[in-house]
Symmetry: D3
Subunit: 311 residues, 6 copies
Amino acid sequence: MIYLQKPDWSWRPSESVTHVHQWVKQEGKADVILFGAPLSRSSISASAASYYPEAFRKMWKGFAAYNLDERIDLTKVSVRDAGDIMMHTTNIKESHRRIEDTAESLADSKLTCMIGGDHSTTACAVRGVKKAFPYEQIGILQLDTHLDVRDPKELGPANGTPIRQLIDGGTVKGEDVVNIGLHGYFNTKELVEYADEKGIQMVTMQRARRDGLTETIQRAVKSLGHVDRIYATIDMDVLDISVAPGVPASTPGGMKSEELFEALLEIGKTERVKHIDFVCLDPQKDNHVSATVKTGVYAWLQFMTGVAMRK
Amino acid sequence: MIYLQKPDWSWRPSESVTHVHQWVKQEGKADVILFGAPLSRSSISASAASYYPEAFRKMWKGFAAYNLDERIDLTKVSVRDAGDIMMHTTNIKESHRRIEDTAESLADSKLTCMIGGDHSTTACAVRGVKKAFPYEQIGILQLDTHLDVRDPKELGPANGTPIRQLIDGGTVKGEDVVNIGLHGYFNTKELVEYADEKGIQMVTMQRARRDGLTETIQRAVKSLGHVDRIYATIDMDVLDISVAPGVPASTPGGMKSEELFEALLEIGKTERVKHIDFVCLDPQKDNHVSATVKTGVYAWLQFMTGVAMRK
Amino acid sequence: MIYLQKPDWSWRPSESVTHVHQWVKQEGKADVILFGAPLSRSSISASAASYYPEAFRKMWKGFAAYNLDERIDLTKVSVRDAGDIMMHTTNIKESHRRIEDTAESLADSKLTCMIGGDHSTTACAVRGVKKAFPYEQIGILQLDTHLDVRDPKELGPANGTPIRQLIDGGTVKGEDVVNIGLHGYFNTKELVEYADEKGIQMVTMQRARRDGLTETIQRAVKSLGHVDRIYATIDMDVLDISVAPGVPASTPGGMKSEELFEALLEIGKTERVKHIDFVCLDPQKDNHVSATVKTGVYAWLQFMTGVAMRK
Amino acid sequence: MIYLQKPDWSWRPSESVTHVHQWVKQEGKADVILFGAPLSRSSISASAASYYPEAFRKMWKGFAAYNLDERIDLTKVSVRDAGDIMMHTTNIKESHRRIEDTAESLADSKLTCMIGGDHSTTACAVRGVKKAFPYEQIGILQLDTHLDVRDPKELGPANGTPIRQLIDGGTVKGEDVVNIGLHGYFNTKELVEYADEKGIQMVTMQRARRDGLTETIQRAVKSLGHVDRIYATIDMDVLDISVAPGVPASTPGGMKSEELFEALLEIGKTERVKHIDFVCLDPQKDNHVSATVKTGVYAWLQFMTGVAMRK
Amino acid sequence: MIYLQKPDWSWRPSESVTHVHQWVKQEGKADVILFGAPLSRSSISASAASYYPEAFRKMWKGFAAYNLDERIDLTKVSVRDAGDIMMHTTNIKESHRRIEDTAESLADSKLTCMIGGDHSTTACAVRGVKKAFPYEQIGILQLDTHLDVRDPKELGPANGTPIRQLIDGGTVKGEDVVNIGLHGYFNTKELVEYADEKGIQMVTMQRARRDGLTETIQRAVKSLGHVDRIYATIDMDVLDISVAPGVPASTPGGMKSEELFEALLEIGKTERVKHIDFVCLDPQKDNHVSATVKTGVYAWLQFMTGVAMRK
Amino acid sequence: MIYLQKPDWSWRPSESVTHVHQWVKQEGKADVILFGAPLSRSSISASAASYYPEAFRKMWKGFAAYNLDERIDLTKVSVRDAGDIMMHTTNIKESHRRIEDTAESLADSKLTCMIGGDHSTTACAVRGVKKAFPYEQIGILQLDTHLDVRDPKELGPANGTPIRQLIDGGTVKGEDVVNIGLHGYFNTKELVEYADEKGIQMVTMQRARRDGLTETIQRAVKSLGHVDRIYATIDMDVLDISVAPGVPASTPGGMKSEELFEALLEIGKTERVKHIDFVCLDPQKDNHVSATVKTGVYAWLQFMTGVAMRK
Ligand SMILES: [Ca+2]
Ligand SMILES: [Ca+2]
Ligand SMILES: [Ca+2]
Ligand SMILES: [Ca+2]
Ligand SMILES: [Ca+2]
Ligand SMILES: [Ca+2]
Ligand SMILES: [Ca+2]
Ligand SMILES: [Ca+2]
Ligand SMILES: [Ca+2]
Ligand SMILES: [Ca+2]
Ligand SMILES: [Ca+2]
Ligand SMILES: [Ca+2]
């Protein structure tokens, strides 16, 4: 964890714990470890997703640590903010290595939440987890508009390649990847053919909507019944562009926020999910009411509500 | 009504009556009395909801006085715009008193529509109605993301407190309040406990969506079967942030505009609803196509369509 | 086709054909002919919809020529971009004449797609088709928030009048027009009465949503069973304002993008649809992430997917 | 004046006269006649300058009718708002004819102010004035980034052609036109050559800045010493893009607002200036604080201050 | 100082001191005491200037604690951030009392900087200083577009009244007030007459520009030669709207940022200036690059540079 | 030049040559070679300056190839657009190498214009030139708010380090660098000390404004009298934030656009300037009227006007 450093600023300590910024601890033991991976210069198109960990934390104050739908008090789960991984300014390979090392060192926490950064960070984090548990089989539960199987030989370890890095590198098997949220015209024919060949399970947005998101997640988890641990990765561009203006690659025809929230509650409830990340949200592209960052915090809290219901 | 004054500007009088600005009268008797309560310096967070009555009226021209879905000609109902309550620039207590007095003086109209302003104005208006009908039991039908039961001892008569003001002040019983649209992480545990204790009926957004909005309103009205008159209060922050950027406290996970429209049609149809208000819409925060103000006018017209169907 | 000219700029020619800008040809024979009608000074309210053909083409690069939902490779259909009709700077009547002439000259293509421009262009295009096929009966399948039957005697050939131009001019019969997507308060009583009188089939948004869009289109097509060819016209203001900020007349309560996409897939599949246009999208009013233009391209691709499924 | 109609709405009448909206009269005799020419479909590029007369009037309330710099009470001059010229929706030639007729009928007022609309309206207005005073020689004092001498044979009576219309049509002599504010790369070589040939006096922005705006106007007026009346036309695109985002054709390197204000004070003082117009400001393109519309009102008030100093 | 509390969040402590956020201390003795007065519900028009203290502090990180123009190392002056005055949510009078008490208790610091909040806070702060030094004569050096002498009997202690409160209340003499930056049409005739009557020294923006800002400040200070201490109050609406979109009342024709910076350097150098405040900057209205907040921090640093040069 | 490729799209070829997009050639010999270096993932803060070459070319159409101020026809100089250097998606070092190679291969052109990209590209380009002319002494004429002498050992070859890379690497001598436009609080004390130590000539914005920009450039050129060739590098963040919202690091207190234009005309006239670049303009951060990109094109045309005056 030598690369983790505290954020530039911190919330004033508080006696009472009613809101999220008062609930998340800066120090000590915790059920859940949260950390930022502020890297997005590895993104194919220009992105400021590296600023999301900071924007995410700044938005905490507007949220109570209590879920009214489920009548769940989140404070029964403990969370520690371990800070951000220090990134190199110009050496992307070095930054990726630090993410991998950090993920490895944190992998035996009960639960880790990584806040990206772009989607290239996921490949590093999964490799780190794999190093920590070399004999475990890792399944990937991916919410994404894209397959992320573009060729690293061409792009390097960019944000279009993480799933292919993991499959071609032997870290994860193709059939242990479930991708939910694909739709429309955002993956070329040859990428779909690669995915078919490798056995990636593709669940289109239409299919997921027809079945319901809870059911969809349950089926996906069941189909990963044989893996030892599940790494859930939430590319926020799975969201529809009307609810996620602040995600550069969000598209029309995507997932609605309430669908994402339903999915994340179910993911949170799933015992075998030990790791999650949220990537590709660029706060500089958000609209004037910060709708996307608010959606990002809400999404994480849905996952945490599910976790609180595990107990 | 001594505090009511005409708005700064008015629409050119017209012979034909095809659009809303031609239908709403400036003078004379009418079935429905509309008035503005342009106060939002009582809002906890900075708000320009005080500008909504003006923005609301300016948007009328873009709407026909005819509902195509229901094939209803709205002009069969008469509406008078009584103008805005003059507010004191710095004395919030005085402004609140004027709202209460005005609401009292207008309370025996067939139907009143108050255009806020922030949600603190509702407490005043309900107290005014209560003064006019001291022996009647008033029920509150509230669409809101929040319970509005924060403590006035701490905040004064701010927009986070109106329901608690009314309950603690004996104007309304807790069990005569139905709140529809609650969700997520926007009410602390202790506020929910207060609401439980006082018997406030809480209908989450998820529950309302599952049952359908028409059904939800019908059930709410039925549960208020014993009250003499129903005061409906529509906090526009019940709407999802993607459809209501111009409401400072709107959130992800909220009500969709078509759900609000469905609910308001049903509320309009309900005979016992004698008063309604629309609050917390800040036109200065709206987006460049005025989506929220347009939604606000549409919402009011849905209510008016329901009223026209009463006859 | 003497009025057609190439756009100001063009995409770099490419060997591989994976994305839309590589698929659409500049020259040669093709199943589908695409052309722009960049005219919007005929719009009642100020509009820059004349810039949509250019914005539409510039957005192609972000879309793959492969539909993942239906597993359809679009490149099996050939498309040629015939360029834009040159418009007169100040003589609207002359511009309209050029559209009519162009539509006539292209009418015997297997399929034509006109990219507007405002809705006044549709009246010209349908008249052009009628001239090419004087003995055929033309049906209109219109997705619109408005009836477009305002009186040309009052407004001239503006964008509020095309359907009335066609009916009063004898080009199309009232009962051969199906309008889908009407809702709320955007058509006056007298216009609805005109439509009733002429036998225009009005399908409200609520009805279409209840029946499902696929079913709605199928019924509409069936009700036009007797016509020889169907001209589909998509006024993008049928969309809800939250998904189409870049359409000046979009409203709350409108069609959702996924509903439009479903409808267009079905329209694309319909053999008798020989012509389609997309109108009234003003790229200058779009939001900072170009959500509306992206939705416009997606919508067209849904239609093209349906066309590819015809074969 | 048969084409003039009152605006859609009007300010509430007031006893006291401290602000501009209270000072401008709706009826009766006045020193200055103000009227709107809401036409911009004649603009080469899409423009909503037709909405400027309305936006201009709505902004009045924010301005006192007192100039503090000069210690001038504007209310000593009387102004009447004669309303807007009704425009045809699609027949630009007809709309132009109405402007010409109206300008002719108002030409014998002490002073007229036309609020455009795009710059094509100026050609009409000057022709109208010429009809009213056929034996007078008219000089044009133009503030503009452009020469406006493009060929009407090619574009029709569009906003790039008014000066050429007037010169080629014999209404005004080339040497009786002074253009101030030209700079940079916004006029092609051939247009400059036309201007040279016709004797148009071109004063670049750099030259005007070096000499001072007051001095520049005085020299321009002197150079028009032989004409009978001066028509001043202010194309707001003369302003720098940083102070006039709401003018579609504003550019870097343009006039600063304080320079425009200085020029207009001097123009206002000039007895022989009998007519002025302000054109090409598109309120839909203005920024979120309405900086350009505010600048437009300020500019007009500077002119009016000068007029008040004439007396 | 019992009403002062730390801000919600704080910068991470740092070893090195190169930037402003590292230089400003949270504790201990200091030459300069900085504190926030986050009150703007007393503003006539809706304002979120109450959020400026937080926005001001968040922007520090982007500024070095070194002035390159003057080659001055700011760290030779010590500054302590005493936090924000806690405001009452709805009782404006109480909030004003707290500002007055706090200003009194801090008045014997070498130098105080109050970050508003709206301009009503200045009246409180000056009264607090007067209480601390009842036998001293206080001069006001005001940079403002407005005189701020509207009648508190009408508006209460709103932001349009502070100077009149102080004069009518006997805290300050009219002739001990110098207002710099007045221009145009933003003060009614009667307010100017009040100012004349009370002997307020009015320096228009034009005059100040002609003389140069350094010279203007020196003259103003000289004209206050007889007072014991000078309270400088910077209403950020003195700035031109093109450089200060985030100030609700900024206007065209105002001060340029470089002029404000020049003025503040000179004010900073002036020994007798013991207090300064910066008011009326509303960060919610700022543009997408935070130009106004950046200008606000720069302005304060210019003052601090002047202070550093005093030594 | 093996790394140069044509842009994704190109302007339609044209017979007449009146505007910039018609003047710049795609092929053949030319006096001036223009090329893009679309790299900004090397920027310290997130930047999309990599999109500037494309945005720059798209804006050409709005500019005539004729300078009215100087009455210069630009077409007498020939310019070829050599396209963009292909960048590696994730390997910054490799991308930098390609820039260096390309700059070397083009260095013997009469004049090269590189369109960045961020300021890290300048270090590469200068090294490339040095390789081509190893025995020539290169002077740097830098317009910038920053010294760009942060330590590459810490940041790698990021955009804060180019001048230091060149000095420490022995490519350029410190005393052969003139930096114009420094001001305020954007360079720490230690960086200024480094610059002093190395003999960098620092001309503050205030000094340059006092002397006039033409004079300032002439003096700078004179002070570089001993060098063999001058490389001019224009960091667009030298501009004031009010005229350059689309430059992430632009600040208040910066250069005005007309000052930049004056400087560039003079730089263009200077025979010994053989290379120029324009960097750090991020079109994604520009405002809704593209003010910054327009300023960027204007700036380049001023330079070209100067070049045309060389002959
Ligand atoms: Ca993705
Ligand atoms: Ca992804
Ligand atoms: Ca509420
Ligand atoms: Ca609420
Ligand atoms: Ca239509
Ligand atoms: Ca329509
Ligand atoms: Ca013009
Ligand atoms: Ca012009
Ligand atoms: Ca003030
Ligand atoms: Ca002020
Ligand atoms: Ca820089
Ligand atoms: Ca630099």
